[in-house]
Amino acid sequence: MGTILRLTDGSTTVNFVYNKNSNPGYLIPRDAWAPVISRLRRSTLGGRSPYEDVIEEISVMVLGATGAQLLTNLATLTSLVDQAVQWTQGDRISPVKLEFQANGSLLLNPTSALILGRADGDETSGVSLKIGFNDDLKCFATTIRLRLWRRGQWLGATDSSIISSSANISNVQSTTFPLTATVLSPTTLSLLITGFSNSTTTTMNGTLLYAASTSELIVVEAETLAASKFVLTADATTKARGSQYLRYTPTTTAGDTSSPVDLLGLISTTKLIGVYALVRNNSASVSYQVRANATLGSLMGTGTPPTVNGQYTTVDGTSTSPQVVNLGTLASPGGFARLSLTVIASATGSSLDIDYLVIVALDAKTSGVINLQNVVFSMGASNSSATLAISDRSLTDLTPAVTLAVGTTTNYVTYTDDVYILTKGQTLVAMLMAPAGANFRMANSSGTIVSTQLSATRRIAYLTPGQ
């Protein structure tokens, strides 16, 4: 494969690889350019590539059989750069990409990087250029220096995973990519949710958790923490996971601690976990302070491992419906072995139900948590499914987006947290904690729990597009 280097919006293209017959308008002198290699951002803000935007400097000869042709070619190049600037400013036009493929690359298609605008010193505007006749090329020529801001990563072809099998909502599901990404790659995660009843509306406030493997995202049934005052309770009506939940009924306001449960299946090398619980406060006037406690793992050495306590989270009486509660973050120098809960009630006379806990390893850029607010599944007369998508939009927009599509209608979803999902390797796992109304899990009007299937599409990223 020969070298490809071009600026394009998908319709207009400026090709910098000279060909006397097919592309006589532009030329990059030999050895005049090599792509800049980006580095990881120091900033901790997400919402975009974790790699720094870079300035790409390309010295370009603009050519023309006549002076007028040269100026036309120059104008085409300038217009494309202007278009990139306008797109960044929010104009309703196509983005401009720099596409590159090195000579001898094994990739089937060139890689792309979004152009964000001009950097200082760019000569596509505001300078007076000298136009002369080039005897070697037998045409008019001028040399300009392009200095453009671009996204740091080169993004290759899309890599679509195999859709997972269908399972009841609020299960950890796994999807596998055909290829392995060696660099953190922007990913669109899609969750197909099926089984809704026609002509119904369901509102969900849920939490999506994702990670790179099933050992980084585990579910713990709360019933396994049963102890005095924490009683396993059968659930016949509100769609609890496993048809049962743990009910805490305080007899004092001093607080109580559940039995610990082994964190089977949790990766032993994680040093930072987030704990999320699906709970229901059965009183509008009693508040509960809930805390996760973790016994540190066997990597801590011999003897009795210590226990670390998280911060208390308040579950107040604002809602008596099931809700997802973040019980905070726990850190360990050597893994985690067991987990328990401590609950303090502001008054006796009521109870707190806990359906299940989700533990996610947070010390990786390939794991994350996204809270979804007021997601309305509005099914038409012929609709029974919806697709929730967290889209990276890495080559089409400055920011990612979360959408819900039902039939031909797509709406944006309100969320919190970073929704620019990154993956490496071949696996993505995810789980949607999805209480709705009085139910711990979303169900249709017949009471059947809806199902989900996980899939993903990513742009394989490269730091150097030379592969």
């Binding site: 900033s43 901790t44 803000l45 930072l272 107040d316 009486g317 794991s367 400055l398 990612p400 970073d418």
Partner: protein, 515 residues
């Protein structure tokens, strides 16, 4: 690490803008009142900036990380140029600076009582009586005055503040009544201004012999005015021939309250929260489970046109009933919930390594002998005995006195404030500004930097503890403020009680700390 910073149209509302991928130089700060402010800028053409600038309502900014709130608050300031937009948000504590609060809670002073004049109520005849408020409410008969039956009343009254939010609900007192037979001593309450809606809450009728009582508690079903009074109910006009004041009614140990419950800081704070919520309901959470009880009775609390934040700051400074009393904190963190609790009780302890210290130490803020000044129920200035901490005197080689002005007429409460002030000021706290590179817990587990907050404790673990006798006060301190900078992933911590004045600089620890 991937923070998000997102603007919503209201707390828990719809997403307006996700600034995560666009924001530059994001800084999030905390202080003793919770989330303090958050600021950043982003490149933005003017037409996009104006969509934020012009937006009605009060947008809510949330910075979060993997499902956890790092900072949240309301959009306070938007400033734009033709190329940039700068935004600043304030934490939810700012809601307690938006409104004013006027309310009576309790008084043990009689100096605010006034005589009811004839122009106010036609049958009130103060000129017929000998009356004074000299540490008591005293109404006595005057020699050679004629008192008509059921007329010619002598009365002292007390009003709630005009447009105040609370009404009188309870009066306690001791009484001594020595009046002619048939005379009545009573307590009225009035349910509307101008002495309207009068009703008798308590009364005694003299049979000729003196009457007395202590710890009398009378419930008032919501009065805007109360009045202690006497009158002739014998059935016939009486001319009093005795000496002035020899026949009288006297009320002492008077306490008037706008609640039948305890007048404590937590009850006042809950009412303040309710008052703010009534005006700006979206800015405060209804849950009060984080408001704890310091168990200190507050006998004299009257608020006139004050900011709730100022009132709560003062209440937090009173301390609690523990020995020694603890300072309390008042703050708003996640979910707009108001928290009132012993300072640092919810804080975490972090272990950090530093490679640079700037330390100030000065005796300016030292106070190891403290007395309180308060005004008693008679209106006289009273100074409590000084409480001196001998260990502090020995440590610093001097006795440094301070007076704390206690806004109370109660000697017990004045002592409580004295003790709290001594506890807080008897030890010199060095001032440093500490750049923190990494945050660890006691087991050496590392946490993201933005987990450190005001009222957390920092222990600098790479300052050896054997360097000096006072080194612990440098290596360990409570944070008064934190500022996290996302663009450099760095944290600055400011210890509590930062000092001003002349400073000396300690350079690199391994070569400059004197032993």
């Amino acid at each position: 690490m991937a923070l998000s910073t997102i603007l919503y149209d209201a707390p828990g509302g719809n997403l307006l803008y996700d600034f995560s991928g666009l924001a530059e130089e994001l800084e999030c700060s905390t202080n003793g009142h919770g989330f303090r402010d958050c600021a950043f800028w982003l490149p933005s053409p003017i037409r996009q900036s104006l969509r934020v600038y012009d937006r009605p309502g009060l947008p809510w900014l949330v910075t979060s990380w993997k499902g956890q709130t790092v900072w949240e608050g309301r959009l306070n300031r938007a400033s734009l140029t033709d190329t940039d937009l700068k935004l600043q948000a304030l934490g939810a504590w700012s809601a307690y600076r938006d409104t004013l609060y006027t309310a009576f809670w309790s008084t043990t002073s009689v100096t605010d009582f006034e005589q009811v004049e004839t122009t106010q109520v036609a049958n009130r005849k103060p000129k017929l009586y000998t009356m004074d408020l000299n540490t008591r409410i005293f109404i006595g008969l005057t020699k050679n005055s004629a008192y008509g039956t059921s007329a010619d009343v002598g009365e002292y009254y007390l009003d709630t503040p005009h447009s105040g939010s609370r009404a009188f609900q309870q009066v306690t007192f001791a009484y001594n009544v020595d009046l002619p037979t048939g005379w009545v001593a009573a307590l009225n309450y009035y349910t509307s201004s101008g002495f309207g809606g009068a009703a008798v809450a308590w009364s005694v009728t003299s049979a000729g012999a003196p009457l007395s009582g202590v710890n009398v508690t009378v419930s008032i079903p919501a009065g805007v005015t109360i009045g202690f009074y006497i009158y002739n109910n014998s059935g016939a006009t009486t001319t009093y021939t005795g000496e002035n004041g020899a026949k009288f009614a006297r009320w002492t140990d008077v306490r008037v309250q706008s609640t039948t419950a305890s007048v404590t800081a937590d009850n006042i704070i809950k009412d303040l929260r309710s008052a703010v919520a009534a005006i700006n309901p979206t800015l405060v959470a209804s849950d009060t489970s984080l408001i704890q009880a310091p168990a200190v009775d507050l006998p004299d609390e009257l608020y006139l046109d004050q900011r709730p934040a100022d009132i709560m700051n003062r209440l937090a400074g009173i301390g609690d009933s523990q020995t020694p009393p603890r300072q309390w904190e008042i703050a708003v963190w996640e979910g707009r919930r108001l928290a009132f609790r012993p300072q640092g009780s919810a804080g975490r302890t972090w272990y950090v390594d530093v490679d640079r210290l700037d330390i100030e130490r000065s005796l300016d803020e030292l106070a190891n002998s403290v007395y309180a000044l308060y005004r008693d129920t008679a209106g006289d200035d009273v100074r409590t005995a000084a409480s001196t901490d001998a260990a502090s005197v020995a440590q610093y080689g001097l006795t440094r006195q301070e007076m704390v002005s206690a806004r109370t007429s109660n000697s017990t409460l004045a002592l409580t404030q004295r003790n709290a002030q001594l506890q807080d000021r008897k030890t010199v706290k060095p001032s440093t500004r500490v750049p923190i590179q990494a945050l660890y817990d006691g087991y050496g587990a590392r946490y993201p930097l933005f987990y450190a907050r005001a009222n957390d404790t920092i222990i600098i673990r790479n300052i050896p503890s054997h360097l000096s006798a006072t080194i612990d006060r440098i290596r360990s301190f409570r944070l008064a403020e934190t500022t996290y900078r996302a663009h450099t992933d760095s944290l600055d911590g400011v210890p509590e009680v930062p000092l001003s004045s002349v400073a000396f600089l300690l350079g690199r620890i391994d070569s400059h700390i004197p032993i």
